[in-house]
Each structure stands twice: as structure tokens, then as C-alpha cells.
């Protein structure tokens, strides 16, 4: 159980049966008045945000959240199917729950699935993935301007800006947190 003085940015709470993360926090107190703990909360299932003030007597349940390594299998309709490597159980996430991660998910990639009370609610990818460039304009030999880029498509269908020297069929390393190109990968 948390008390109001435990509240801080990033803390995850269970409120009305759902998991919330505190995205903004401040302590306020009108001179002779009572201490108020102002928060901005984000629902970790539907992403809705709202503001709420708490008093020092308020108590909170921690949200039962954990991550489990699973393997991405396939997409079926608007659901994404993952398999728990330990017990081979399959779980499903919606498009909304997968979000931008879809840009970097290749078949069989290992990801962390976020579970709230054993229910899958989200995903986190490795920080770096390696993907094959499937469509790219050929390199015009004359174009040597430092820092110039061009858009290419990778195997997941994601379009990314890369240096002009990257060619079709090459493998590149991408930072999944920013969605940006890092280097070419030999192999």
C-alpha cells in the first residue's frame, strides 16, 4: 500500500481496478490549508489521461505489473499473437496496444509483454533491431554531400530516412525508441 507521500512521477497505481502511471506530479499547499498532491495520471490500458488531486490521508494500491519475454508469431485480423517461451501459451494484443512497435516487429522476434494482473496490456521492444532494406533508390555516385539522406522501406513495411549510400538488400540497425537509423550491419 502506498500513502500520498510515496507519490512521484513514474509510480504505477491501481485505481478503480485499472493500472495508471503518474506522468506529472507536484506537491501544493495553500498557506493554512491542507497538503494536496496533484497528479496527472495515464491509464495504462486505454492511454486516457486525467488530472487528480489527492490528500495526505489517501492510500493507494500498487498496480500488479510485470514483464514477460515472449515471441511474436503472426498477425490475425487486427490482433497480434505472441507466445510465452516458457509454457507455450499464446496471448493476443490489439493494434492500439502494440502501437508503433509494429514498425520493428519481424516474425519470431523476442519482445517483452507487459502484464497487468496476468493480462497482457502492452509491449516493449529491444532498444535496437536489425532489419533488411527491401526497397531503396539506387545510390547516385555523384551524391556525396555529407549528411544527405533518402527514404527506404524495410522488411516490416516501415519507411525510414537513411544515408544515401545504403542499398537494397542491406541490413541496418535501428533504435526502436526514436525510430531512427543507426548503422549498416555487415552480414
Amino acid at each position: 500500500m502506498y500513502t500520498a507521500s510515496d507519490l512521484r512521477k513514474g509510480l504505477r497505481l491501481k485505481i478503480d481496478g485499472e493500472p495508471y502511471v503518474i506522468t506529472e506530479f507536484n506537491f501544493v499547499k495553500p498557506g493554512k490549508g491542507q497538503a494536496l498532491y496533484r497528479t496527472k495520471l495515464k491509464n495504462m490500458i486505454n492511454g486516457n489521461q486525467y488530472e487528480r488531486s489527492f490528500r495526505s490521508v489517501d492510500t493507494f494500491e500498487p498496480a500488479d505489473l510485470r514483464e514477460k519475454t515472449m515471441q511474436y508469431l503472426y498477425k490475425e485480423g487486427d490482433k497480434y499473437c505472441f507466445m510465452d517461451n516458457e509454457n507455450y501459451e499464446q496471448v493476443y494484443l490489439t493494434e492500439d496496444q502494440v502501437g508503433d512497435a509494429v514498425n520493428f516487429m519481424t516474425d519470431n522476434i523476442e519482445v517483452e509483454i507487459l502484464l497487468f494482473e496476468d493480462r497482457p496490456i502492452g509491449i516493449s521492444l529491444p532498444n535496437f533491431v536489425e532489419l533488411v532494406v527491401t526497397e531503396a533508390e539506387p545510390w547516385a555516385k555523384g551524391d556525396t554531400a555529407a549528411g544527405s539522406t533518402k527514404p527506404v522501406k524495410v522488411q516490416t513495411g516501415y519507411t525510414i530516412q537513411v544515408p544515401t549510400f545504403v542499398t537494397e538488400g542491406e541490413k541496418i540497425r535501428i533504435d526502436t525508441r526514436t525510430g531512427e537509423y543507426l548503422t549498416r550491419v555487415k552480414g
Binding site: F27, K32, G33
Partner: protein, 311 residues
């Protein structure tokens, strides 16, 4: 220089400008009071029992407490025949830490015999204008708003401010036990955004150590100064009726007991002195926050050399 010392050096050196303004500001405050015939006093920081307050909790020091305000000792001085006194001292409040709160902070407090709260508002305005003048500041920035300090400042009653800015009246907010939330969410952000604003006449239940208004005892002669939505000072026409003060303290002690807060003794010596306290008004002003305004600092951390976290 080792690395840790290098970081410390960097953090403190970056505050140099603000700390110089802070020092000038405090000198300017002293200058104002000395020029106006005030006596500077010092009262003990460590006291046997703070004023019983429902929402302010003291830190302990041995089997005594650190003061949450110098109010009781200063009023005893006024009662003993010191008609114009001021003090700049540290105050301590348990559990208060935020962008505008430090558990140890610097307070200016002053008392004037023969004044009421309206006269004290005038003097508070004159003090801050004098300080701003010494610092060469005509307007301050807060939350990207320019606040013009030119007199006269706005004065608005609590009831007016609630009906102007909040979805419910101050009375309804009190009845529904939602006064502080409404004040913080709806009223405060609108106070003192163009010019500094005094908000006055608090509901009697929130009068604290203030005298009730003779022509309307539903409110107490208490005011607060807000500049840019930030509370800067709190003042009263002082309550001089020992019986009524004892009753309010008893209420506060009950509320504190219900919250399991530390037990305070009834401040008997203070209550005895009220019989000889002349009509007077007193005010406490947060110096750290005034420095925040004068330097444009976003948080209180920026205006002190050390916060508890970097000790």
C-alpha cells in the same frame, strides 16, 4: 579537483547571480523596516510548543519542536510593549516539499500595533515596491506572464474570487469539504496574473489567529498576497480575545489528534499575553518565494544554495 567536488562547484557557481539578488533583497527588506521605525528581533527557533494548527506540522528537536512560524513569541513581544517589530528567520514544516516548498525556509514576519489588516496590505505593497525599486525591477515574469508591480494592487474578497473563478461558492466549497482543492485548482491560478492581488476576508473557520469582522462575523480579517498565482504572504488583524483563541486552539488540537499528529501543549503563556495585546496586525512573507519572483526562478530549489536533497 575531484569529480564530485567539480559537480558541486558547478551547481553552486551557477546560482551566483540569484544568491546575490537574494542577499540584496534581504538587505533591502531590513533597510525598509529600519527606515520605518521597526525593531529587528530574534526569537528562539526551538520551542516547547508551536501554535496549534490543523494543517501545519512541526519537526521535533529533542523533546521540543522547531518553530513553524515565530508568531507566538512575536505577539508576546507586541503585548509587552514593542509596537513595531520584524524578524527574518528560518521556519520548519514537516512533510512539505515541492516546487514552492522546502521543509526549512526563510520567513519575514512583522507586526504593527494600531494597524488593521487593510493598513497592513498597504504596508506590504509599499515594502515589496521598495524592494523591487532597490533591485531595479518594475515587472516580474511568472508562467510566461508579465506582472506589472505598479500600485495600486488588486484587492478581492474570498467570496468574490470564488464566484469569479470557481464553479462553486466559497461557502459551498467549505460545506462539501472541497475548499482547498477549489482554491488550488480554480482560484489561485487566476490571482495576481496582471497585477499582484490581495485576497481577503476568509471564512471564519479558516480565520486561524485572525480577528473576526465585527460587521460580518462569518469571515475573519485575514488576507493573502498572490503574485503570478503564487502565494507570497499571509496576514491578519490579530485576534486579541484569549477565550476565543483558546477555543480555536482546542479545535485544532482535536483535529491534530484525529490525524495522529504530534501532541502539542496549549500555549498558555501566549494565551495569557493576549489580554495585554493591543489591536494590531501581523503578516508572514515567504522570502524564498519573493526571490523566485524577483529572479524569475521556476522552483524554490533555484533560490537557495542547498536543498535538503543536495546536503
Amino acid at each position: 579537483m575531484n569529480k564530485l567536488h567539480q559537480d558541486d562547484h558547478f551547481l553552486l557557481a551557477r546560482k551566483s547571480q540569484v544568491l546575490q539578488t537574494r542577499a540584496k533583497l534581504i538587505q533591502s527588506i531590513r533597510f525598509f523596516f529600519i527606515n520605518n521605525g521597526f525593531l529587528e528581533v530574534e526569537t528562539p527557533l526551538r520551542i516547547p510548543s508551536p501554535a496549534p494548527e490543523e494543517n501545519i506540522d512541526a519537526l521535533t528537536a529533542g523533546n521540543w519542536f522547531l518553530q513553524t512560524s515565530p508568531e507566538l513569541c512575536m505577539k508576546r513581544l507586541v503585548a509587552a510593549g514593542y509596537p513595531r517589530i520584524f524578524q527574518i528567520s528560518k521556519c520548519f514544516r514537516a512533510g512539505e516539499r515541492g516546487d514552492r516548498h522546502l521543509p526549512e525556509y526563510t520567513m519575514l514576519e512583522w507586526y504593527v500595533a494600531g494597524f488593521n489588516y487593510q493598513q497592513l496590505m498597504d504596508q506590504c505593497e509599499a515594502l515589496i515596491l521598495s524592494v523591487a525599486g532597490d533591485l531595479g525591477i518594475a515587472e516580474v515574469m511568472r508562467q510566461n506572464r508579465k506582472i506589472n508591480l505598479t500600485a495600486p494592487w488588486e484587492r478581492i474578497s474570498v467570496a468574490e474570487a470564488f464566484s469569479k473563478y470557481a464553479p462553486l461558492t466559497s461557502e459551498d466549497a467549505l460545506v462539501r469539504d472541497f475548499f482547498d482543492e477549489t482554491l488550488v485548482d480554480h482560484v489561485e491560478p487566476n490571482l495576481g496574473m496582471n497585477k499582484p492581488a490581495f485576497i481577503y476576508d476568509y471564512p471564519a473557520r479558516l480565520a486561524s489567529l485572525a480577528k473576526l469582522k465585527v460587521e460580518n462575523p462569518a469571515v475573519g480579517e485575514r488576507f493573502e498576497l498572490y503574485i503570478g498565482g503564487m502565494e507570497i504572504a499571509n496576514g491578519f488583524s490579530e485576534l486579541t480575545d484569549a477565550g476565543e483563541q483558546r477555543q480555536r486552539f482546542e479545535e485544532a488540537l482535536k483535529t491534530r489528534a484525529a490525524k495522529n499528529w504530534a501532541r502539542y501543549e496549549m500555549p498558555e503563556k501566549f494565551l495569557r499575553s493576549l489580554d495585554s495585546l493591543p489591536p494590531c496586525a501581523g503578516i508572514a512573507l515567504g522570502i524564498d518565494r519573493l526571490v523566485m519572483l524577483m529572479t524569475g526562478a521556476a522552483t524554490i530549489d533555484d533560490v537557495v544554495a542547498f536543498t535538503p536533497e543536495n546536503l
